[in-house]
Amino acid sequence: MPELTRSETPLRNLGPVDQIPPGEGRVFAIDGRNVAVFRSRDGRLFATEDTCPHRQGPLADGLLGGSVLVCPLHGFKFDLATGRPAGNDCRALTTYPVALSSRGDIELRLDPR
């Protein structure tokens, strides 16, 4: 789990993790900014900007396998853990620290890593 404690930015509680079905993603609007949050089948959470740098595909609608996401529009792949593109020369995705709280809520900080 990412370290969420040492930061000035407030921690945002996005509510229960089961809003996101296992292996899928959903977009959350936070302070007017859209963030895609993903929940992998092995229980990890990832948060990134919500559109693909290639042609603005909606990343939360992509296919997720482990930490690799495939954009639904043109199949560009990214590793959500780092934001880095896989097999294409897009720029990396902005990622945000996100973790599961002890009560099962999604907690996120809006400071890009």
């Binding site: 977009v27 959350f28 609608d61 396998g65």
Partner: protein, 843 residues
């Protein structure tokens, strides 16, 4: 308890030995065997075919390594590089190395390859009895380096041997700026591949490039200056002489069989092997590659050697313990000094009744020849223009009847706009028209480490759109890498890239282990590693296998199949309601119009499949749109039965001879939403005028006079255009439905994921399809019919999820968290969650 592994010893680390190890590991052979490989040369394994490119300076030695030393380490293969094997004892099952160490084995593979044949020529040694400086063989990387180094101080070279190897050596030396003479014993060049006329045309072409060719010359002696070592020229049996500064001997190869002969194995020209590639009397000793002799033949090309490696790997790994090698059909496509050459089968008339058809254009260096026996292709030579090779090769491999005018085969693209070979195009030519990838970009990635079609497509995105250019990409790859440089990614045989099993094996394992969900397949068959791109293919397969018992995990579906609509470039969706057979009513049209207006559909479009498409609908509004339409899903977003297009048929059309409209509606009602490896688009036509274009559909029915229907399968009018194959002619609508259903089920069970029917039918062959579907030669028709019936019965309209979603946020667009707040709930100092709102209007 872990089973003790057997010991596999491989003698030879060349193209055959290393390939066997690769194939074996790819089949999980590492669990069965500890592998030891002896290699004569102190390197990993390299691509011998590309040595000529190293000689020519277009490749660096480092470029041609297939597996560097680190690869062996990473795969736990013990490589004894630079260690010769001195003896094999097939009774005690021990190999003894030259350094005296003994290596016991349970299975032994001899892949010692060949050595250059050095003809009896005087003067190979100088007066002092040492090998004369300036004379080289051309077989290994070390030979190559030695030739290159020596050539730097030479002005002219003679190559003894005018076969493929000799000409390749000559090309390398020409590229290095030398005057090059090829001295050939025979009356024409490349007599193993070419007839005399072809050889003559090749000679003319090569002489045009600056090569000096001397035919019918037997070399008596290499001449050197007395006492100085080195070479000054050649003297021939006919008394003639030739001045040169160095000599390369490329007069053929001989199988390395000494080791096998001393071991007491049966050796003729090569090491004799049976169909199981074992040596007679020694079932645990195998031989493959250039050193092996199978059914009287010794192969010197790379393709047969790979086939042998594959068969043996299948046997040893236990994947197919009874796999057998029955010989290879020899065909080869190569470049001789940049001149295209494709050769298959016999090169001239052998039996009475054989016919030859030839075409020549000496000024262009083009020569083409077919040898025809009993209406089938028995052999072909294409020199200077191999564009007809794919067609000929297919005909040759399949033993097809070549039709009344064989000459047509020689000119595959004669006609208005003969497309040029992709190899003739400049580097900036766009090859992949979907992703805008140039020929130069593809070639660049091939030169920089991408050695399989998959790797190049992955790196450049070429061929990842409609896939129509993949053949061209393959051709460029082959051109850059040479025949042996191209490797086939084992994943091409996998059903999906992330699970290392071909479809039949995968299906068997899924059934055996009772795997009903995609995640359970990854857990059981892929070491727990999820692969995103493999998920939809697995979901499709599991649904075909388990039907109602399939455990549906929605994250395994592509977004279209999670929300039953087609995603558009702006992230909105298109909605296509089902209109059976394309026949609608005023009321239905009115309703569609109202819905489109209410939800501000951005475009209303009549589709190619005679449906109505509402575009620009946000995800969150889909359920409401469906409810208001009150029509079933048209499945315009998924790999399934899509539509059956119809013409107006016999009720109105004055030409109609069959009720294509009623038939189309019946087809669509029965098969709507049936999932398949790829989409299926259908059509019915009421007469042979074929207004609904039924002959270029995945399945099509065309009415003909007499109340009958022609059934076509495998038609296409997309990125490829292909006329469907006539499957059969039937009498009644019910027959059409039954046979279409049976074909679909056969395709569902045997098609690869994302393989359209037109590729499927070509791969299986229409005769086989007909034998199974129409003639029921395999006795599975009843089972196929029952399986299709079950699939039809299991059908449910996915748009029913408008009222019964599988997840409360299935159609959520954006979950709004309206404001930042520093307020926590007080219990743990963190803020409390807020009410979640589903908003449809955002984006």
């Amino acid at each position: 308890m872990k089973k003790e592994r057997s010991r596999l010893v491989v003698i030879g680390n060349g193209m055959a030995g290393a390939r066997l190890v690769e194939e074996l590991l790819a089949r999980g052979g590492g669990d069965r065997f500890t592998v030891t490989v002896f290699g004569d040369e102190p390197y990993g394994n390299y691509n011998r075919i590309l040595l000529s490119s190293v000689l020519a300076g277009s490749h660096e030695p480092g470029d041609i390594f297939i597996n560097p030393l680190a690869w062996y380490e990473a795969n736990c293969v013990a490589l004894r590089a630079g260690v010769r094997v001195a003896a094999v004892d097939p009774v005690r099952k021990v190999v003894t190395a030259a350094d005296g160490t003994a290596e016991p084995y349970d299975k032994l593979v001899i892949a010692t390859g060949s050595a250059p044949f050095i003809p009896r020529i005087a003067g190979l040694e100088d007066a002092a009895g040492r090998s004369r400086e300036g004379i080289f063989a051309f077989r290994t990387l070390d030979d190559c380096s030695a030739i290159t180094a020596y050539a730097a101080r030479c002005r002219s070279a003679a190559v003894i041997g005018g076969g493929l190897l000799g000409l390749e050596a000559a090309r390398g030396l020409l590229e290095r700026g030398l005057t090059v003479h090829v001295v050939h014993l025979m009356g024409h060049l490349m007599e193993l591949q070419l007839d005399a006329r072809g050889g003559a045309i090749l000679r003319q072409k090569l002489e045009g490039m600056g090569l000096q060719v001397h035919l019918g010359k037997s070399t008596r002696e290499v001449v050197g200056e007395d006492g100085k070592g080195g070479v000054t020229g050649l003297r021939f049996e006919d008394g003639g002489t030739l001045e040169c500064d160095m000599v390369v001997v490329a007069a053929g190869i001989r199988p390395n069989v000494a080791l096998a002969r001393e071991a007491g194995l049966l050796v003729e020209r090569g090491i004799v092997v049976e169909d199981d590639l074992s040596c007679p009397g020694y079932p645990d000793v195998h031989a493959i590659g250039e050193c092996a002799q199978h059914r009287g033949r010794v192969y010197g090309l790379v393709a047969p050697l790979w086939e042998q490696a594959e068969v043996l790997a299948n046997r040893l790994s236990g994947r197919e313990p009874r796999a057998s090698y029955t010989g290879s059909k020899v065909s080869t496509k190569l470049k001789v000094m940049g001149v295209e050459l494709a050769v298959m089968g016999i090169r001239e008339r052998l039996e009475a009744g054989d016919e030859e058809i030839t075409y020549e254009d000496p000024s262009r260096g083009v020569y083409k020849k077919l040898v025809v026996r009993d209406g089938r292709l028995a052999g072909a030579v294409l020199l200077g223009d191999a564009s007809a090779a794919p067609v000929l090769l297919q005909s040759f491999d399949r033993g097809q009847d070549i039709g009344p005018d064989p000459a047509e085969l020689l000119f595959p693209s004669s006609g208005a706009s003969a497309p040029r070979s992709v190899l003739d195009l400049p580097d900036d030519a766009q090859i992949c028209n979907c992703n805008g990838v140039s020929k130069g970009r593809i070639a660049y990635s091939a030169r920089n480490g991408c050695r399989s079609l998959q790797a190049v497509c992955g790196a450049t995105r070429a061929g990842t759109g409609c896939g129509g250019c993949r053949r061209d990409v393959q051709a460029i790859l082959q051109d850059v890498l040479g025949e042996g440089g191209l490797i086939e990614d084992p994943a091409v045989h996998y059903y999906v890239p992330g699970v290392p099993l071909a479809k039949p094996d995968l299906v068997r394992e899924i059934r055996r282990l009772g795997l009903r969900s995609v995640s359970s397949v990854f857990a059981a068959l892929a070491g727990g590693r999820e692969d995103a791109a493999s998920k939809p293919g697995l979901a499709s397969l599991l649904k075909t296998i388990w039907a109602g018992e399939y455990e549906d995990e929605r994250d395994a579906r592509f977004i279209n199949d999670r929300v039953h609509a087609n995603i558009q470039k702006d992230g909105t969706f298109s909605v296509v309601p089902r209109i059976y057979g394309g026949v609608t009513t005023p009321g239905e049209l009115r309703r569609i119009a109202d819905v489109a207006e209410r939800h501000q559909a951005r475009m209303i479009k009549i589709t190619g499949g005679q449906r109505i498409d509402l575009l620009g609908i946000p995800k969150a509004r889909l359920p409401q749109v469906w409810r208001e339409l009150g029509m079933p899903s048209g499945h315009a977003y998924t790999k399934a039965f899509r539509t059956c297009k119809t013409c107006v048929g016999s009720d109105f059309c004055r030409y109609g001879v069959g009720d294509s409209t009623a038939l189309g509606i019946a087809i669509e009602r029965r098969f709507q939403g049936i999932e398949s490896p790829h989409k299926m688009k259908l059509a019915t036509a009421g007469c042979p005028r074929n207004c609904s274009e039924a002959t270029t559909k995945d399945l099509g029915a065309v009415a003909i006079e007499g109340g009958r229907w022609e059934l076509y399968v495998g038609g296409a009018a997309g990125s490829r255009v292909r006329k469907g194959d006539l499957l059969c002619v039937v009498e009644a609508h019910e027959e059409v439905l039954r046979l279409m259903g049976r074909f679909m089920q056969y395709y569902r069970e045997n098609g690869k994921y994302l393989e359209r029917t037109y590729d499927f039918v070509e791969r299986i062959g229409i005769e086989k399809v007909r034998a199974v579907v129409v003639q029921d030669e395999e006795g599975i028709a009843a089972r196929l019919d029952a399986a299709m019936e079950a699939a039809v019965d299991a059908y449910a309209d996915p748009w029913g999820e408008a009222n019964d979603p599988v997840h409360p946020l299935q159609f959520a667009q954006v979950l709004v968290r309206p404001r930042a707040s520093g307020q926590g709930d007080g219990r743990d100092g963190r803020e409390a969650p807020e009410e979640q709102v589903v908003a449809g209007e955002v984006r």
